[in-house]
Structure formats: structure tokens, C-alpha cells
């Protein structure tokens, strides 16, 4: 099937009244929670996974995808107006966006962020449309070693990028893999870590784990911090949101650069929108003729990261839809949603369910257009959502957590599991361990284990199978390089510190109590 007829098929699905409605619900919800600081898109998708159970697979994914890119649009509003990122992917937007707002140019910053998001979103999707069929075709030849290599790269990248301590992130990932082991062995169906209970026989459910780690843990943080927030920028009445000609001239190149950067970084397993926005901002600054103006309210500093994070949302779907490998945590949740509906995404998805594949892809064009139409006129009122204080949102998030997690199986044990993981997530945050690698690893675990064991069976215990095949060899080499580098660097640093301290009296580290 050529691309045009595929797109026609897709739009027939995505423009059906029902799917249009779910797309609208998805982007509106995403926009709403994107504006609310604190609740991230991964948490929202986790919270809404249960209500997609009764939907058709295509509608469910359309809605969940809408939440994701919708939150990318919304997250920039708080970044610009309050210097508080509504999403981790909009952190970089605070630098110049907030400065622009302080100089009374809030409207242009907001408008530029929406327009750059839209342009990049469309280009990212166009890339997805062109690249996905080629990659799916290529991926049909992938065997277990390639899949093992892909999961390994995904996990090392997610630990390596955008986290403070790669060691802690890797430890979180290993715990996630271990949680994925619970249940029946995927090859021989032996019970593992089930402690004789039937409940654990099928493994830990994704929903209570994720709702605990992202939803409830966030509530716990809100309760502890009791953040009080007051907007420092009053929105002028009759906000002018369209950027002027000079703005366009200054933002054109950063937008284009951000789009390309975002697309490339977004495809990488383990990277995603947040990392892409960092890279795009850094490049925009470096390549600018006035790098010193960045951070003081340069419109390119808004356009580049906004373009990057939206372009990355489109390309982030590529590994999931063509390989069945989620590139980041949000995609891991999408994979969870696919699996809950009994569909395994992978190279054959496009051929077996073309209406689903192209319906989902084209719905994102529709959703981006909806967001543009929604946001340009309504940006003022939408910004007021930032006025809702955390102390009001926290109880409502809890309510939805209870309903969602219980609604899945009507099993009260799930509420307890969610509470447990909420506490785990809260403590992980305290001790500086990121939760995202854990969740990604939890989802990737079974794929990784099965492909590892199949590879070893194939090769009769010869580990060189991972290195002699070109695709898996390249990927594994990359993963090993990244995985060992922080370890070696950290050990060298520690040894250096010890040597430097050799003369001075050693400071003791006390155990704080007990």
C-alpha cells in the first residue's frame, strides 16, 4: 500500500465522529494537566489507562496519545508565565520564556511556543509516516539478539540521559526488571516470586505499579511540600499572541533546528522529549549569532525546545509501532495499553492492522490541529488553570487513583499494591532514584528476558551471537560503552577524592540517629 492510500485509510478512521471525540478529549485533558504543574503526562496517562479498557484499541491509543502531546503544548504555559515547568520536557522553555513574560512579551512567547510546537509536531509526524514503513520492513528480519540489544540500549540510555546519577538510575532499572520477573516464567511457565499466591501468578499489573509510582507518589510529594504558588505575571487583557515579523525571523532557524533535533533524539530508545529539549536549546544557543542573549528573553530559546519536544513525541512512536519497543516511559504505558487490548505492537502491526496503525498516526495530525485551534484564541483562560493550588488537586488525584486502580479488576489488593508503590516512589524521590527507568524496565523486562534466553539457546551458549550480528553488535557496543562509563568515572572520582583527602583528617559520616 502506498503512503497516500495509507493516509486516506488512516484519516477515514481518525476522522470518524467517535475517534474525533476521543482525540478531542485526549488533547483537552493533556492540555489541562500539562498546565497543572506537578502532575506529569506519564502520571496522567497512568491515571486514565483504566478508563480506556472499555474502548476499542484504536480509540484508546488515540486518546492516550492526545494526552501526551497535549501536555507538551500545555506544559509550556506555566513555564512561560510562572517559570514553573508544567512538564519535565518544558524545563528549558522557562529560561527565555519567563524572561520574555517579565518584559511584557508573554503573548508573543506563548504564541511562539504554540506555533513552534505545531510546526514541529506536524514535521515529526511526517517523519513518522515516511520512516515507519521502512523501519518495520527492516525490523521483520530482527531476531532475538537484536531485540535483546534494543532493550539493553533503551535501558542504558534512559539511565544515562537526563538523570542526576546514572548508577542510581541503573539500579532503578534493574529493580524494574526484577519486578517484571514476578509471575510465570515466559518460557517454561514456572512460578517465580509468587509466594504461593494466585494473585501474583499473572505477574504484577502495570496499572497499580505505575499509578503508585507516578500518581500517588506525586500526591505524597504535594502533601509534604504544600507548595503555595502565586502567579507573578498578570495576564494583560486582550493578549496579543501572534508573534511579529522580527520574532519569526529570530525564531525560524531555532524552530527548524529544534524540529530536526527533536525528531532524531525522540527515536532513540531511552531518550524522549525531555532530553531532546535540552539538546535543542543547547544547540540553538551555540549556533546563535548572539548566544549571550539566551536566558534573557530570546524568542529562539522558546522556539527551539518547544519544537524539539513536540517533534520528539511523533518520532517517539516509531520504535513502539515498528519494533514493539517503547522508547520512553510514556511509550511503555502505551505498550501496556496495547497489551491490555490484546494487541502486540511490532513490525507486523502495520500489515496486520493497517487501519489501527494509520488511524493512530493520522489522529495525531488531527490532534495537533485541534490544539492549535483551541490554544491560539483560548490561551488566556487556559492559563488560569495554573491558579488551582496543589492542595486542591492532591485529593482529586487520590480519588481518581482509587477509582482507576480498583476499576481494573475490582480487587482491593490492587489498592494496597498501589499504596505500596506510592510509598516506594516517594522514598525513591527522597533518596534521588528516578522512577522512570524502573517503569520502562518493568515493561521491557519480559521482552528482554525472553530474547536473551532465546538468543543463548540459538547460539548454544555462545555469547558472541550478540556481537557478530551487525545490528545487535552495534547496539550492544553502544550500550556497554554507556553503561560502564559512569561507573568507571564515578570510581575514578571517588579514588581521586580519597587520595586528595589522604593528608587531611578523614571526616566521618554519621548514621543520623538509630
Amino acid at each position: 500500500m502506498d503512503i497516500l492510500s495509507s493516509l486516506a485509510l488512516g484519516f477515514a478512521v481518525s476522522l470518524s465522529l467517535q475517534n474525533l471525540a476521543y482525540c478531542f478529549i485526549g488533547v483537552s485533558l493533556g492540555l489541562f494537566v500539562g498546565v497543572l504543574p506537578g502532575l506529569g503526562s506519564a502520571a496522567t496517562i497512568a491515571l486514565l489507562l483504566p478508563i480506556t479498557y472499555s474502548l476499542e484499541t484504536t480509540s484508546a491509543i488515540i486518546m492516550l496519545a492526545g494526552i501526551w502531546y497535549g501536555s507538551m503544548y500545555g506544559g509550556s504555559i506555566t513555564s512561560i508565565l510562572l517559570s514553573v515547568p508544567g512538564e519535565s520536557a518544558t524545563v528549558m522553555t522557562t529560561l527565555d520564556g519567563y524572561q520574555m513574560a517579565r518584559r511584557g512579551r508573554a503573548g508573543a512567547a506563548l504564541g511562539m511556543s504554540v506555533l513552534a510546537s505545531f510546526i514541529a509536531g506536524i514535521f515529526g509526524l511526517a517523519g513518522l509516516v515516511l520512516l515507519a514503513p521502512l523501519l518495520a520492513d527492516f525490523a521483520l528480519r530482527f531476531g532475538p539478539p537484536e531485540y535483546f540489544a534494543l532493550t539493553l540500549v533503551g535501558l542504558t540510555l534512559v539511565s544515562y540521559l537526563g538523570t542526576q546519577s546514572a548508577l542510581k538510575a541503573m539500579a532503578a532499572a534493574v529493580i524494574g526488571l526484577l519486578l517484571g520477573v514476578v509471575g510465570l516464567d515466559p518460557v517454561l511457565a514456572t512460578s517465580r516470586f509468587t509466594y504461593g499466591t494466585l494473585h501474583l501468578q499473572t505477574g504484577l499489573d502495570l496499572v497499580p505499579v505505575v499509578m503508585g509510582l507516578f500518581g500517588l507518589a506525586e500526591v505524597f510529594n504535594m502533601i509534604e511540600k504544600r507548595r503555595v504558588r502565586r502567579p507573578e505575571i498578570a495576564l494583560p487583557k486582550g493578549l496579543r499572541v501572534l508573534p511579529n515579523r522580527d520574532d519569526w525571523r529570530a525564531a525560524a532557524w531555532p524552530t527548524a533546528q529544534g524540529t530536526i533535533t527533536g525528531f532524531l533524539v525522540g527515536i532513540l530508545p531511552g531518550a524522549g522529549a525531555t532530553v531532546s529539549s535540552y539538546v535543542a536549546y543547547a544547540l540553538a544557543k551555540r549556533w546563535s549569532r548572539h548566544p549571550e542573549r539566551y536566558g534573557t528573553g530570546e524568542i529562539g530559546g522558546v522556539a527551539a525546545p518547544e519544537a524539539a519536544n513536540n517533534s520528539a513525541t511523533g518520532s517517539g512512536f516509531i520504535p513502539l509501532l515498528t519494533l514493539g519497543i517503547p522508547a520512553n516511559v510514556v511509550m511503555a504505558l502505551m505498550l501496556g495499553a496495547f497489551l491490555l487490548h490484546g494487541v502486540t505492537p511490532g513490525p507486523t502491526l502495520m500489515f496486520k492492522h493497517p487501519e489501527m496503525f494509520w488511524g493512530i498516526v493520522t489522529s495525531m495530525f488531527v490532534g495537533n490541529a485541534l490544539l492549535l485551534v483551541l490554544m491560539l484564541p483560548l490561551i488566556g483562560p487556559i492559563s488560569r488553570i495554573t491558579l488551582i493550588p496543589d492542595r486542591i488537586t492532591a485529593p482529586f488525584i487520590t480519588l481518581i487513583c482509587i477509582a482507576g486502580v480498583y476499576g481494573v479488576n475490582n480487587n482491593p489488593v490492587d489498592i494496597a499494591v498501589m499504596t505500596l508503590f506510592g510509598a516506594v516512589g516517594y522514598l525513591m524521590g527522597k533518596f534521588g532514584y528516578p522512577a522512570a527507568p524502573l517503569v520502562l524496565a518493568f515493561v521491557l523486562g519480559p521482552i528482554m528476558e525472553t530474547s536473551l534466553r532465546q538468543s543463548l539457546i540459538m547460539s548454544h551458549a555462545d555469547f558472541s551471537i550478540f556481537f557478530t550480528r551487525p545490528v545487535s553488535g552495534t547496539l550492544i557496543g553502544l550500550a556497554l560503552l554507556m553503561a560502564t562509563q559512569p561507573l568507571v568515572r564515578a570510581l575514578l572520582r571517588a579514588a581521586g577524592r580519597r587520595a586528595a583527602r589522604a593528608g587531611a583528617p578523614a571526616r566521618e559520616w554519621s548514621d543520623g540517629g538509630s
Binding site: 483504566p50 489498592i415 548514621d511
Partner: protein
């Protein structure tokens, strides 16, 4: 030093060493459990193969986290409101116990009432109205979307 006014909030010093030690313990336990499973051979890996491998990796990472921890380590602080966090966790476990018997609306309203009073510090009437209203709206929303929630006590209504 931003010590809080009256009561001293609990804090843990040397956070990295503690968390590293906890992970090492976890890795040891996992290894112990995983060795009970058939390991198989490398050419025919059994159910125990992957968990044993993971336990070893986790142990190495835990050791590295402890070794590379900066001397005093980060101080982990809990604000005084951490008590509320524990209280909410406890309340959710109570909800889990009573959910089947009392149903979603009663349980959710009670939990919301607690949070709105204690965290949002709203007045009783406002809390009650928001709690009951919120629970009913979510109940209606989920039920219409085809996600069944137990009616429990409200069954006859």
C-alpha cells in the same frame, strides 16, 4: 541552615550509603530466592537464570553507589508534613480493606473528606460537599465508561 521552627523534622544523613546498603540487601535476598529456581545451563537457561543475573548486577551497582557516595552523603530531610503522607498511606490501606463491603462511594467520600480537611484545610461543609460530589462524579464517569465500581452500601438506591 534552614532548621524549622519548633519540632525538628526527621532526617537521614549519608543517604547514598543507606540506600546502597538497602539495595545490596535486596540483591542478596533476590539471589537467595532465585537460586531456589532451576538455573538451567547457559545453553538452556532456566527460570532462575535471569533473576540471578539481575541480582548480581544489582549487587554491583549497590556496591558502586556505596563506594562512590560523597563523604557525608546527601542529607535526606522529611518535612513535618511527612506525617500526613504516612496517614494518607494508612488511610488508603483501610480503604482497601473496606472497599468490597462499603462500596466505592462511601470509601472514596471518606478518604476525600480526610484529605480536604487535613491537606486542603477547607471548612467541613465545603469538604463534605466536594468529597461527596467528587466521589459521585467519578463514580458516574467510570461507570458510564464501562469500568464497574462497587456500589456497596448504596446498592438499594
Amino acid at each position: 541552615m534552614n532548621r524549622d521552627q519548633d519540632a525538628e523534622p526527621p532526617e537521614i544523613r549519608g543517604g547514598d550509603r543507606w540506600s546502597g546498603a538497602a539495595l545490596a540487601l535486596l540483591a542478596t535476598y533476590v539471589a537467595f530466592e532465585a537460586f531456589q529456581l532451576p538455573f538451567g545451563t547457559v545453553s538452556q537457561p532456566g527460570p532462575g537464570f535471569f533473576p540471578v543475573l539481575l541480582a548480581v548486577v544489582l549487587f554491583v551497582l549497590a556496591a558502586a553507589i556505596m563506594i562512590t557516595a560523597r563523604a557525608p552523603g546527601p542529607v535526606i530531610r522529611f518535612a513535618r508534613e511527612a506525617r500526613d503522607v504516612a496517614a494518607l498511606a494508612g488511610a488508603l490501606l483501610v480503604v482497601a480493606v473496606f472497599m468490597d463491603r462499603l462500596g466505592f462511594i462511601v470509601c472514596a467520600t471518606a478518604a476525600m473528606l480526610l484529605l480536604l480537611r487535613a491537606v486542603a484545610r477547607l471548612s467541613w461543609p465545603a469538604s463534605a460537599a466536594l468529597a461527596a460530589g467528587g466521589a459521585l462524579v467519578v463514580f458516574a464517569l467510570f461507570t458510564t465508561l464501562g469500568v464497574p465500581l462497587p456500589k456497596g452500601l448504596l446498592l438499594p438506591l
